[in-house]
């Protein structure tokens, strides 16, 4: 074994040019893996973390099952034509037993918090500008205990909602679109039933998630109940769990136990999750392709080495080195390339990530950020290292195996 190590290491360091080229391929593959994983997962993690912070893990709501044609269909089955554009009936969407739900689940061991919402749509206007918005009526203290909303408030004025029933918090992008740059401005809220309400902007919500910041308006729940003409009504119960992974189980259980529809965040964000999945597949495919190319590089270099060193392999076998020794000597070179490439790749990717963290560029899309959102998990470095060593080992194994099959007499006779 000692001899094998000695020979392999000496060959690796003596054949510097080939070794460096092969190692460079692995370095590039490792860097691509670590940096791309960090960027993609950083973005996805940020989005989910922030979205879950503000939206909770499970939402209980009234599912609309009303169909205009349900009575007709009972009689005529398929033989009817639906006329579109008919005036919809007002459908009650309140959760009537929310107090019961609150008291029943508040002490659940897996629950971090539970809060109540009244949600409705309307239009908000400032001066001549009008924008559609989602109004969310909240109990400010309860909301903050459950969803830590104050973390996302620019002026930290959540208490104003409690004290001043005319107060409103606007999503920062919505405020921008309306032309509101500071608090204290008066906006007009147009409810679905046609009533107008003058409210004072006391803060801005800045979650970094464009969709939320562009549409959400927070009010005290009592105020929104007045505006919408739904006194004491609640139409959403939001649960925050200790583990986000428990959400599907709880959603299923709550649907069964409460009689309302309970939706896990995985279901609410299924479109995003499937996009993220595709992103991960694409990233993995690109990295796999890069590592594959590196692997072919190693394969070629070790294969060339093996063919060049036929005579040396033959003499080693004549001196008593066995097939497994030859396999070890050349596979070890692949492993050394993988180890060096993996280590150098990790170091380089660490430096690249450090550098990327310092770059300040405005990113605006699904989310807004002032730079790259990176997930600096050590697991990407570990995975990158393991992949590097594995690919290098696999790429070197076949040439090593071929080398072990050389028959010394045939080599000596051929004079190669």
């Amino acid at each position: 074994m000692k001899g094998n190590f000695f020979i392999s290491l000496r060959l690796f360091f003596e054949r510097r040019r080939q070794s460096v080229i092969a190692t460079l391929g692995v370095v590039i593959g490792t860097v691509a893996f670590v940096v791309m994983s960090s960027m993609i997962n950083g973005f996805q993690k940020y989005f989910l973390e922030e979205a879950l912070n503000i939206n909770g893990h499970v939402k209980i709501f009234v599912e609309s099952t009303f169909r205009e044609d349900r009575i007709l269909r009972k009689v005529y089955k398929e033989g009817i034509f639906l006329v579109l554009g008919a005036k919809p009936k007002s459908v009650k969407d309140r959760i009537s037993n929310y107090r019961e739900i609150l008291s029943k689940y508040a002490k659940d061991e897996n629950l971090l918090g539970i809060t109540l919402h009244l949600v409705g749509n309307g239009v908000i206007s400032y001066g001549v500008k009008e924008k559609p918005a989602t109004f969310v009526g909240i109990f400010p203290e309860l909301e903050n205990e459950t969803l830590k909303i104050s973390k996302y408030l620019v002026k930290n004025n959540l208490g104003q909602l409690e004290r001043n029933k005319e107060a409103v918090i606007l999503g920062i992008k919505l405020a921008e679109e309306l032309g509101i740059k500071d608090i204290g401005k008066k906006v007009i809220l147009l409810s679905p039933n046609g009533t107008l309400h003058r409210l004072k902007v006391v803060d801005f919500l800045n979650t970094g998630i464009t969709e939320i910041d562009k549409s959400r308006v927070y009010l005290h729940i009592k105020k929104l109940q007045d505006i919408l003409g739904k006194p004491n009504e609640v139409n959403e119960v939001i649960l925050k769990l200790k583990s986000a992974d428990l959400a599907p189980v709880y959603a299923k259980r709550l649907t069964k136990e409460t009689g309302y529809r309970a939706e896990s965040w995985q279901e609410s964000f299924k479109n995003f999750l499937s996009i993220f999945k595709i992103q991960r597949i694409i990233t993995r495919s690109v990295v796999f392709a890069i590592l594959l190319v590196s692997g072919f590089g190693i394969f070629n270099i070790i294969m060339m080495t093996v063919l060049e060193k036929k005579r040396d392999i033959a003499i080693l076998k004549a001196m008593g080195y066995e097939k497994r020794d030859i396999i070890f000597i050349f596979s070890l070179q692949g492993i050394i390339i993988g180890v060096f490439g993996g280590l150098a790749g990790n170091l380089l990717s660490f430096e690249i990530l450090e550098w990327l963290e310092t770059i300040k560029i405005g990113v605006e899309g699904i989310i807004r950020a002032e730079g790259f959102l990176l997930d600096r998990s050590i697991s990407y470095h570990l995975q990158g290292f393991i992949f590097a060593v594995l690919v290098s080992f696999l790429a070197s194994f076949y040439p090593a195996y071929r080398a072990s099959r050389f028959h010394p007499v045939e080599v000596f006779r051929s004079g190669s």
Binding site: K2, G3, F6, I7, R10, L11, E14, R15, K309, R311, D312, A314, I315, L316, K317, A318, M319, G320, Y321, E322, K323, D325, P408, V409, F412, R413, G415
Partner: protein, 226 residues
């Protein structure tokens, strides 16, 4: 079988395709002997040497090493026997170009588990003995043909083999280096090393104890040089 027989070949036949290279060779070497095998190109002398050195398997026949029959089916044992019992020298030195002279000589010792320090000491001693004291750290391309062959001899002696097998060891050397190599062989032999040398240069056989002549895969003559 005589007690001092180091190696014995019994009815060795070797077929490659339909062509019979060796046609039932009987041959033995006694301890301390210096035997030369001569013959024209293609006579089968190198094939015989490879079979004697357990590098190749005979189609038929038996090999006895120190009076024990060699089992050609066990590759691992054959490799161990080659490592511990034989030293090989070829027409081309077959030194590993990336290694120094010293490292080339160390390689067979490392296979048997000799530690690096001990292997280095012994390799230094062998190279010094062969007149290469100042060149131990040189790579093969930095040595002359004769020096390269002397490094190969030192490497063959690394594990104190019971038999030195040389296939045209001077075939690639000029007359001065040929003389030097033969003198080294004689010196080693006089110290008790058993040598079997394949050559086509008949004048070299005068320095050996016994000359075995092969023609068309058969031993046609055995003589003792005057």
């Amino acid at each position: 079988m005589e007690a001092d027989t180091v190696l014995k070949a019994e009815n060795i036949k070797k077929l490659i395709g339909n062509y019979e290279i060796l046609k039932g060779i009987n041959f033995s070497v006694k301890k301390g002997e210096f035997v030369s095998i001569v013959g024209a190109s293609g006579s089968g002398k190198s094939t015989l040497l490879y079979i004697l050195g357990l590098l190749d398997t005979p189609t038929e026949g038996k090999i006895f090493l120190e009076n024990r029959e060699v089992d050609f089916s066990q590759e691992k044992k054959l490799a161990a026997l080659r490592n511990r019992k034989f030293g090989f020298i070829f027409q081309f030195h077959y030194l590993i170009p990336e290694f120094t002279a010293l490292e080339n000589v160390m390689i067979p010792m490392l296979k048997v588990g000799v530690d690096l320090k001990r292997a280095k000491e012994k390799a230094e001693y062998l190279l010094e003995r062969l007149g290469l004291k100042d060149k131990i750290l040189r790579k093969p391309y930095q040595l002359s043909g004769g020096e390269q062959q002397r490094v190969a001899i030192a490497r063959a002696l690394a594990n104190d083999p019971i038999l030195l097998l040389a296939d045209e060891p001077t075939g690639n050397l000029d007359s001065v280096n040929t003389q030097k190599v033969m003198e080294i062989f004689q010196e080693l032999n006089s110290e008790g090393t058993t040598i079997v040398m394949v050559t086509h240069e008949r004048e070299l056989t005068r320095m050996t104890h016994r000359v075995v002549e092969i023609k068309d895969g058969e031993i046609v003559k055995e003589t003792t040089p005057a």
